[in-house]
Amino acid sequence: MKKNTNQVRKLGMVSSPTGFTWANVKAELRAIWESNVKQWKIELAYPLSFIRQCISPVFFLLPYLIYGLALMGGGYSPNLQALVGTGDIVTFIFTGYIIMGFISTAVFAMGFSIRNEQWFGTLESIYITPTNRLSIVLGTALHSTVHQGISVIVEFSIIYAIFGLGLKMTGILPALVIFALMMFALYGFGIVISALSLLLKEGYIVSEGLASVMTILSPVAYPLLVLPEVARNASFIFPTAPGLIGIRTFLLQDYRPEVLGNMFLALLVLDAAWILFGSLIFRLADHYVRKRGSLEKY
């Protein structure tokens, strides 16, 4: 008995890499990178599935475009021009739709990264490594962001070839800055979803629901002005609304933002809020499932 107690003490003395030191940051960055590499290895093991996933966003974007063209009998909408200054249906919808894949990054890829480890039977092994669990989630986020980036390039090439796009090339750099700010807040949101999937296990219903609500509240295929006022105000909880308005401001000729304000500032506030909130919720959920012993439950 005495021997066992000593053993427990010795185990307890194993130094874990805690604290904000450069060595620990480097170790966590390495864990993020390795998690990302693992996701790529799994994905590229099924090349046909990978190709399908890269092309699939085009199949969901085209109905938005064809529907818009069918409604107007052409590519120009006077009403859209009256609302936001540009009447170019194809470019307006394309610049909105490119973020849809990144919503999936947050909601599904990050949200289910922990749950997937459980399906693969590797969750317990990961949990006993001296790595922050969030590194696993962020590694998946990195993989998914690059994957969605490839999809956006495919979308751009196909839509440009079929319809043509009127984009301001000079606005690409500031639009990318806005995009990066939007992604940080989306990562925070994704961490919240992964905490929920730790608690709820089969949390796909909640994720589907949140993704649907976020899609409606984001100005993907329409400006925020067509939403009721309550929904318009609620849309600024998610980073996609200020993100899209900001991206369009730099990329679209004659675009008049439907909601005025400093989008950089709005996104910075959302970044801080979602990342802090996400980390807190994740920490609480992680602590809760381990305390209850429900980690390995399906």
């Binding site: 109905p63 818009g68 009998g73 649907s212 609500v213 329409y222």
Partner: protein, 279 residues
């Protein structure tokens, strides 16, 4: 077929239906989700229409769709498309699900005709899809001003049965492929894209290029949507859509025959190769 064998086969169908309904009712939130949430997937199209047109009717749309009201057009497309999703992912992957649950070996080794197990799966999928479709339609009547007269319910149900039969022919082919190739998920996704893009779910087929229109005319959903919209939106009678109904019938017969043939062929091939229990 003797009376007792018919009774046994119906017993198989009934128990398969019971099993699937039990599974569904074990997760009530899933049940509620599919009854309500597909609404959220077509709301963006309604808002998009409002933003582009500045109202809820479009004359340009009327020239190709026959009706300027795009909201009921989109709602009907979405509700009927949910049958495609349930057949591709529900029934098409039902065999794969048995493998995951560890019951596929027992199902295939049981001394009953496997076709009746598949019929049981198809009946339960149809029942649940119809419950979800009715729920979505009821919400649409309440919030999106869809008008439904009692007189068109029976003809619409008839068209839905024809649609479901054709879709299950396709699902049988998918089930056959998942027996042999295990992961038919990618194929199900690809078929979903084909239905979504080339059928008049969100827009009339006339807005597509000629080659795409031809492809759309090979899909049962195209004819079902044209017929249901003619009855519900254009207030036409069943006689106005007899061509669509006849084509649906022909497609149904062809798809079901090919589906059953493929399934039996794949089942024998898989049994002989000893690959049933492989993942």
């Amino acid at each position: 077929m003797t009376q007792s064998s018919l009774g046994t086969n119906l017993f198989v169908v009934w128990n398969e239906v019971k099993k699937n309904i039990k599974f569904l009712l074990a997760y009530p939130i899933v049940f509620v989700f599919w009854g309500i949430f597909p609404i959220f997937w077509f709301i963006p199209f309604i808002l998009q229409g409002e933003a582009l047109v500045g109202g809820l009717s479009s004359q340009a749309f009327a020239q190709i769709a026959g009706t300027p009201d795009f909201v009921p057009f989109v709602v009907i497309g979405s509700v009927l498309n949910s049958y495609v999703l349930s057949s591709l992912y529900g029934m098409g992957e039902s065999i794969r699900r048995e493998a995951y649950q560890g019951t596929l070996d027992y199902v295939l080794a049981s001394p009953c005709n496997k076709a009746y197990i598949l019929i049981g799966k198809a009946v339960s999928e149809s029942l649940t899809s119809t419950i979800f479709a009715v729920s979505q339609l009821a919400i649409s009547i309440l919030f999106f001003g869809i008008e439904l007269t009692v007189g068109v319910i029976a003809p619409i149900l008839f068209i839905l049965i024809l649609l479901v039969l054709g879709l299950y022919g396709i699902a049988l082919m998918l089930a056959a492929l998942s027996l042999r190739f295990k992961q038919a998920h990618d194929l199900a996704h690809t078929l979903e894209y084909v239905f979504y893009l080339f059928s008049p779910v969100r827009y009339p087929v006339e807005s597509l290029p000629f080659w795409a229109q031809l492809l759309g005319k090979l899909l049962p959903l195209t004819y079902a949507l044209i017929a249901v919209r003619a009855l519900l939106l254009l207030k036409q009678g069943l006689s106005a859509v007899y061509v669509e109904i006849l084509v649906l019938l022909v497609l149904d017969v062809a798809l079901i025959l090919v589906g059953f043939y493929m399934f039996n062929w794949m089942e024998n091939k898989t049994k002989k190769s000893g690959m049933i229990s492989q993942y």
